[in-house]
Amino acid sequence: MLCESPAFLEEALRELEHLSLSYQRIGARAIVASAKDLHILQQSLNERGIYPRLVGQPAPSTDPYTGEHA
């Protein structure tokens, strides 16, 4: 998750405080979290009226090697 400014990252992190999210801060504007938490992150921000830009394809719901469903 990359923010325009450090202040905006702080603001966004406050909105995510209630989540038990494993993430690591990288620099002053970004955090890195597991791709499997993307949906939770997105949903939580949406519930607070923040609709982030999403780049790339979210992690597949199938085994990436075999294509089988869980």
Partner: protein, 622 residues
Amino acid sequence: MNKETLEEHTAQDPAREQNQDLLERGLHAHQGEASRVRATSLESLELDLIHLSCALERYPLKLNKSGTPNRRSLARFCQGIVMPSQQLTTDGLDLQNPEEIDYLAFLLALLLELGILHCDEQNLTARAHHEPAQRHFTHHEERRNRTLSAAVRNLKHWSEVISAQLSGEGSPSEHQVEAQLSLTQTNGAPLIGARGYLLSVLKRAAPAEWTCQDDLIELCLQLDRDYLPRVLNRTSSPLEPAQYVALFIEHMLFWLGIVELAQDKDDHTKLVRLTPRGQRWLETHDAPALPEGAHAPCLIIQPNLEIMVFLDAAPIPVLFKLYKLAERATLADRVATFKLGAESVQRGYSLGLDAAKAIAFFDKHSHTPLDQTLRFQLEDWERVWQRLTLFADGLLLRHQDPDAFDIILGHLQHEWREVPELQFIRLSHGSAFVTSPTLEPLTRTIERYPNLIIDHLGYIPPCLHFNDLNDPLSFEVNPLHCDFVTSRELEQVAAWERERSKPFTRQYSLDIERIKAKWPEDPLGAALTWLRPRATGPEGGMPPATELTLRALLRRPQPRAQLAHDILVIHFNDAHSAELFGAIPAAQEIIVDRLGEHSFGVLREDEHLLQELLTQLNIPFS
């Protein structure tokens, strides 16, 4: 009896010729004057479907344990839904009114059948702006008619039989209401064949003019006299076939906007006729053609960011797109008002639009060119929206030396300059993020720059689960929990056991030959270094059995064990006494090995020497 058609029924019927005659004679247009016309449209139903799915996308509908929607939660979704042929009320549908609950249940069942809703144990949610909603609502009328027609025929979670009970005289029981609202019970499934049959009759009879409803019902009953009674018997329905057909017309077909209903002005006979869209929906032989040409502008965008929409002129794909960008505020007299706001527009942007697309959309469908202020506003909201970006995939590159990292990044940017989707975003002195849709460039990077640390959380996640006590080298992996380096190197040190694997739990076994080939100089040391941060056993960390097995298979000289059958153990009850005993030269002559702090091993043949020594030392023994 799925997908039964009238043709199949008439072909099986010995009175086929008589049926053909019935159809050819057709239904006579009613001669009297129609009054109290009740009309709705498929477009109104589609608007309700879009409105409901958008609401469900934003807020999940809580489900009870039985799979029925929680009433308190359901109340939120009644807002803005219009009962067919009625005006929108302030509160929307009334959950105290069984017929209005029935209509809401019908909409939910349709959305479920269209694949737009997702139901888990606790919640019902919609993917209103993703597939398959996107696939349905953005297409032209002909294609929407087909998908909706298939969904209506196959409705499993809504039943006309229960609908009759809800609209009957007297208050329906709570059980009946729950059964109709249930999203897990398939009360409508036994009626799939009956719906197909009735729609086939309607298609062939094609009553485009006002027709006596009883005549239409009679035709449906006559064409295959046994079929409907048989279906209704199977459902244990108290309904007579004629009642079932009447309800099918008055509820399902009317709500869908396929038919209009009226009464004769004089004798109050019930009348019915197909709407033009209904004729196209049924694909009757003389259905009116689709209106040609592009739709006229249907939006009036006001400076206060309100958008007025003339629903009769607005195609469903336009309304669907408008729902992405704006909130519907009011609906009255076929005019809806939407409100553009920072939140709603940014939500639209997060669903795949941007300022340029939004401006182009409004320019195309607005009565007047878009105001400069609004253009600026849409672009400004895009700027605000871009303040926070989530990258769903990509690579985090880190290096301890910022100067060396600069050089590496320069090389990589030059190497991948022709791949536009690869962007390099510098996050700090020693880290950068690369938006990469493929893993191939990363593979090359790993090989070329061994000092570059590539991971997703800054540490290697323990993802190799050694749980098989009978096979210390066997382990399970969930590929989604692995960092990239582990995923890539796994195949170099272990063999994938496909037959024992399941999706998301792949079974591997450490392969000694592969390990030796990968690390020929120090296979044991390198393998343990690789495994220790990644392995997790039942007690956590690297299981001792796995490490010992690897030592046995890889270490030179190999660890060996001797099974001693002729050793006597002498055990002292305190460590200091044992220490003193071990220091006596006579004892050292007979001790084979020290076994911990308290014990020694002595050859059985030296037992008499040991006893003599203990006697001399005045140490009692047993």
